[in-house]
């Protein structure tokens, strides 16, 4: 398994062990692709994004990895009672990951030092998906270093 995948699995395990206002079972996927009926259930997905490795010294490398966390559910986009809890969950996951450290089985320690939004979801969610297919898609991009 690759080092970025190991980090993604550690994040998945951490999210599944955490306490959040809504129940979910996070999963790692290389691509986030669902049939609309599957979004009746809250889906939380961790997907690897960019990665880099740079030489620091002759012996040491600096690793950096980005992981996307997608939160998806079919909602009535005009009903704040449905979208509000998902926005709150977005904040909860951000707080649970940002500035936290993750120890991998091999002993490496990764720290999350940045969280950003992505293009098309600058507010943290994809407004286009609220219009069609009338679903909530929240996305956070976390950057980790070790």
């Amino acid at each position: 398994m690759g080092w970025q995948t190991e980090l993604a699995d550690a994040l998945v395990a951490d999210l599944n062990a955490g306490e959040f206002s809504q129940a979910f079972q996070a999963a790692r996927r290389l691509r986030v692709r669902f049939d609309l009926p599957n979004l009746q259930t809250l889906q939380v997905t961790v997907a690897p994004a960019a990665r880099s490795r740079e030489m620091l010294t002759r012996l040491d490398d600096a690793y950096q990895a980005q992981l996307d966390v997608a939160i998806q559910k079919k909602v009535d986009p005009d009903d704040a009672a449905e979208t509000g809890p998902l926005l709150a969950l977005l904040d909860e996951i951000e707080d649970a990951v940002y500035r936290h450290f993750f120890d991998l089985p091999g002993g490496e320690r990764w720290g999350c030092y940045a969280v950003r939004t992505v293009e098309g979801a600058e507010a943290g969610y994809a407004w286009e998906h609220l219009d069609r297919p009338r679903s909530f898609t929240g996305i956070l991009r976390f950057t980790f270093r070790r």
Binding site: A70, A126, P133, R134
Partner: protein, 122 residues
Amino acid sequence: MRSALAQALRSLQAVAGVWMTYRRGDLVAPLRLVPCTRPRSEAGGPIVQILADERDFIALVDELALDGRRTLPQPGDRIEEADGDTVHVYEAQARDGEADCWTWHDPRRVAVRIHTRLVKEF
């Protein structure tokens, strides 16, 4: 012309129409609709893709009524189609690149074509 068109559409409805449940919130009405299949769609976007079975339903305007009042489709309206032990739930949604979840089926405005995506099965 309008009455001839209406008669033709009623014939279509008699041959290909299926009784379904039309729902808007708490309002419910049985409605005989003509289903029309469409290709599956993919809503792209940042990082994620959402696949959906699309289906159009033809409804006669005179029959599309909720709570005793004629109405036109609204986003979020639901059409429930029983298929054996399974109920397929379709939700009125605009197609990609279009503003409304329905279009007139004919130039005389006898029927509407409701654009939907499958959102649930139980």
